[in-house]
């Protein structure tokens, strides 16, 4: 309040001084009253002028709202100071609010799910990046665009307009390659929150599981049907001894087929259920190859030329039974799909980076390009009838792929129809070594 006193005192002092001085001067020329009046007017004028100047400076600064406030003493100085402080405090609050908002948005952006806000007219107010990807939207450019103009799937539109959001809905993503699970929630004033999740992988796995069960059932039912037919035949018909023997032989074939299938299924289940083989049990590559070769020669019965080459000292780490199974599988496939007189080459080699490859090349019938990506799928067959006749279960390559992946490697298939195929197993450097090089450092344990 002392600024008020000072102001009043100052104004009073100035008025008094001007009046007295000009009254005095007026007295000298004979009209002191006029002089006093002039003095009062002068004082008022000066005071108004001074205030106006200071006020206009303050006003100018406030209009621009930039830079520092004009410094002054007294009323105007304090006014300017307080206004400036209020501005600064206000801005600080805005900055803090904006930071908080940004933290919220960053948290929502980090969500693996899509989050979108819609207003009462179904227009998009805001969406995070994941939602933009799910629906093919432009988070900036598509603001205030009616969502159903861009996300046009009739399933989605029906769900959005139904107003009933207790459950979510499954809608196809843009371009039809993805499947999304979508959930809507009402909030605020007719606004809606849209949550989306990419369930393509989940749906694919479900579909694969369903297919697998269907395939297994079919594969088992077929020989069972044949078998039960034969059983009925034996029970009801009087057969001659050779006929009976023939029927029993056919029944044996079917049971063998089912046994192979069950054995392969169990192998797959075991492979999936057990931990990966450790890399500390080493086995000789040439021993494994010789054993697989023996099986293949028996299967080939002299119809093919079989050649196996590997360094004597090459070793591989892992499970010998699994590796043998994988190699034998590839060799037996080569034998089955190469016509008589054909040639099968098995070659083990190391690369510069230490990794190794096992190539099984045959001069067989080859595989058409469209089948190559699906060859290692369970029950996938290029030619169903032929594969079953030669005793195939449809699971062989799937098992090989599992085994090589459990040993840190991969399988590669190249083929040309009418010329032949090459199946390659790639194995990582930590799983292979040459005996000579490691002698002394770590004595190998031959198991």
């Amino acid at each position: 309040m002392d600024w008020l006193f000072r102001r009043l005192l100052g104004a009073l002092a100035l008025a008094l001084a001007c009046t007295l001085v000009l009254a005095g001067i007026g007295a000298l020329v004979g009209s002191p009253v006029l002089g006093a009046a002039l003095g009062a007017m002068l004082a008022t004028g000066v005071l108004v002028l001074r205030d106006s100047v200071k006020a206009s400076r303050l006003m100018a600064w406030m209009r621009v709202a930039q830079g520092t406030a004009p410094r002054d003493t007294g009323l105007w100085g304090e006014l300017a100071y307080r206004i400036e402080r209020a501005f600064v405090a206000g801005e600080k609050r805005v900055v803090e609010e904006r930071q908080r908002l940004e933290q919220f948005l960053a948290a929502i952006e980090a969500s693996p799910n899509g989050v979108m806000m819609l207003d009462a007219n179904e227009q998009m107010l805001w969406c995070n990046r994941v939602a933009a990807e799910h629906f093919g939207l432009d988070p900036e450019g598509d603001r205030l665009q009616r969502l159903t103009n861009l996300v046009r799937s009739p399933t989605f539109v029906a769900y959005l307009q139904s107003g009933r959001y207790d459950e979510g809905a499954t809608v196809p993503g843009p371009l039809g390659r993805t499947t999304l699970s979508v959930l809507l929630r009402d909030y605020g004033n007719g606004q809606k929150l849209l949550l989306s999740q990419d369930i393509t992988e989940r749906e694919r796995n479900e579909a694969m599981r369903r297919d697998f069960v269907a395939n297994v059932s079919h594969e088992i039912r077929t020989p069972l049907t044949v078998l039960s037919g034969f059983v009925e035949t034996l029970a009801q018909l009087k057969l001659s001894e050779p006929e009976r023997q023939r029927v029993l032989q056919l029944m044996a074939q079917q049971t063998t087929r089912m046994q192979s299938l069950v054995a392969d299924l169990l192998t797959l289940a075991t492979l999936e259920g057990s931990p990966r083989p450790t890399a500390d049990r080493w086995h000789s590559v040439s021993t494994l190859l010789e054993r697989a070769k023996a099986d293949a020669i028996a299967l080939s019965a002299g119809r093919h030329e079989l050649r196996v080459s590997a360094e004597n000292d090459a070793q591989i780490a892992g499970s010998d039974s699994e590796l043998l199974s994988a190699i034998a599988n590839l060799l037996n496939n080569a034998v089955r799909y190469t016509p008589a007189g054909g040639r099968i080459d098995v070659n083990w080699s190391r690369r510069d980076d230490g990794s190794a490859r096992l190539d099984v090349c045959d001069s067989g019938v080859g595989i058409a390009r469209e089948h190559l990506p699906r060859l290692t799928e369970r029950f996938y067959r290029v030619d169903g009838s032929r594969s079953r006749d030669t005793g195939g279960t449809g699971l062989g390559l799937s098992i090989v792929k599992h085994i090589v992946q459990r040993h840190g490697g991969s399988i590669e298939i190249r083929s040309e129809p009418g010329v032949g195929s090459t199946f390659t197993l790639h194995l990582p450097a930590i799983r292979v070594r040459t005996l000579n090089a490691s002698r002394g450092a770590d004595a190998p344990v031959e198991v």
């Binding site: 093919g136 665009q145 159903t148 103009n149 861009l150 046009r152 196809p172 371009l175």
Partner: protein
Amino acid sequence: MSDKHLSTQFDTELAAISNRVLEMGGLVEMQVGQALHALTNFSADAADEVLRQEERVNQMEVDIDRELSAIIARRQPTARDLRLLIAISKAIANLERVGDEAARIARTVGRLIKAGIPTKLPLADLDFEANLAIAQLRKALDALARLDTARALEVLKQDDLIDQEFDGLLRKLITYMMEDPRTISACIDIVFVAKAIERVGDHAKNLAEATIYVVKGTDVRHASVADVENVVR
């Protein structure tokens, strides 16, 4: 199609009819996708679904056209608003025809299933052509929703790809037919399917041309790609 001027009753009507057109677009997109699914999986169910929707698509064309005439009579729009309404009229005609093509594909699939499916059909190529056409349709509808002439131009440029695919497919089918005359009936059906897909691509192109017309005021039908590029820039 959000616009910058103040929301009036007329704007609401324009927004509503634009939304209905795009809703029709979504329905037709689904039909084409279903028809393709029916073809690649030989699914009679999917084919039936397509045919069930045909009635609804036709009804939407009639309804939207009626609403269109009502708006023009009521509001007597000019300039861009009038062009938008004209473009909408063209769009729904094209979309209805896309629906017809999808129905045609579905009926062919039904016929093929009844006749017994031949084992060797170049379905992978059909699948590829169809996915191109579906992508074009989606792009054209997106461009219409956003009034995005750049995307519309892309649709125009990529139309040739579909035509090339169709030509390639035709050649392949001819060799199939020459190799084994028993497949001629099925192959001819496939030719019609491929042609239907190619026409879907053409309708998408028409939608893109309509979008450019709305934004630039220039009718770019039957213009060369270079000319259209000049218009869009």
